[in-house]
Point group: C2
Chain length 138, copies 2
Amino acid sequence: MATGIKDILKRNSLSVTESREKILSLFLDQSGALAHGDIEKKAGEKFDRVTVYRTLQTFVEKGIIHTIPTADNSIRYALCKDDCKEGHHHDHHVHFVCTQCNVTYCLDDVVTPELKLPKGYTSSHIEVVAEGICKNCK
Amino acid sequence: MATGIKDILKRNSLSVTESREKILSLFLDQSGALAHGDIEKKAGEKFDRVTVYRTLQTFVEKGIIHTIPTADNSIRYALCKDDCKEGHHHDHHVHFVCTQCNVTYCLDDVVTPELKLPKGYTSSHIEVVAEGICKNCK
DNA sequence: TATTAAAAAGCAACAATGTTGCAAAATCTT
DNA sequence: AAGATTTTGCAACATTGTTGCTTTTTAATA
């Protein structure tokens, strides 16, 4: 499968625009997750704030990126693996936030564990966020 | 152990004030978690917005409540169990967000599972948030 | 390649959320 | 009850997120 930036956009029937290319490249250029603020800092001099919001929203809808829940009110976004379809994410991996460097990783190889929920509860999705020291900081 | 509202505050060496009593009672009166917005709606006519912020912050610092990460940028707070000490939380339970009624539960009996992390990663805390249909909505 | 319809970006204005400093009021200590 | 301390409320501000509309860019088609 082609993995160029333009290919990713076209595959998701998105028109190729400068801001989408730029923002998508930010994700491809590094392994961690990005908070909205990070993206705005890196791309915001060039693009309007609103465009960043709308682009991220579009990417989430198309399944190109996914959100990672945090406890500090700053949604983080990370690239999805290829098997994410529009409106149907398959992010069954664990996220890791380093308390030292503050980088968020997608641990693609660590699968979210099974949970035994109390009677009456049915879960459709489980998010696991581990916090600690990453391999670069230890 | 005494569980009156005043007792909880005194035990944590907090002075007993109207707003703290009111906000703490909101948590005691119901089982789910509360978002800042909920609290402001319920207590905000009586108290200043800033007071709500500061009170919640104080409660978190004292270990009376804890935060629950979400993917929608609205921090939720829930009461801690009694073994939370100041600055040292013991929230090894799973959280459950109902996608229908939007209530967040602390599943105190569901312990966060062990995770096998990749080499080099050490985690100090693991957050698990399950999403689905709760016992009241099914 | 030029024309045109559709989509996206930029702009402005606004709404919501969160923060800070300081004076007034309430609480705690003795 | 009086004074020291803590908390509250207020005002002003910063940040973050949203909406409507016009201009610009992209993509489709001749």
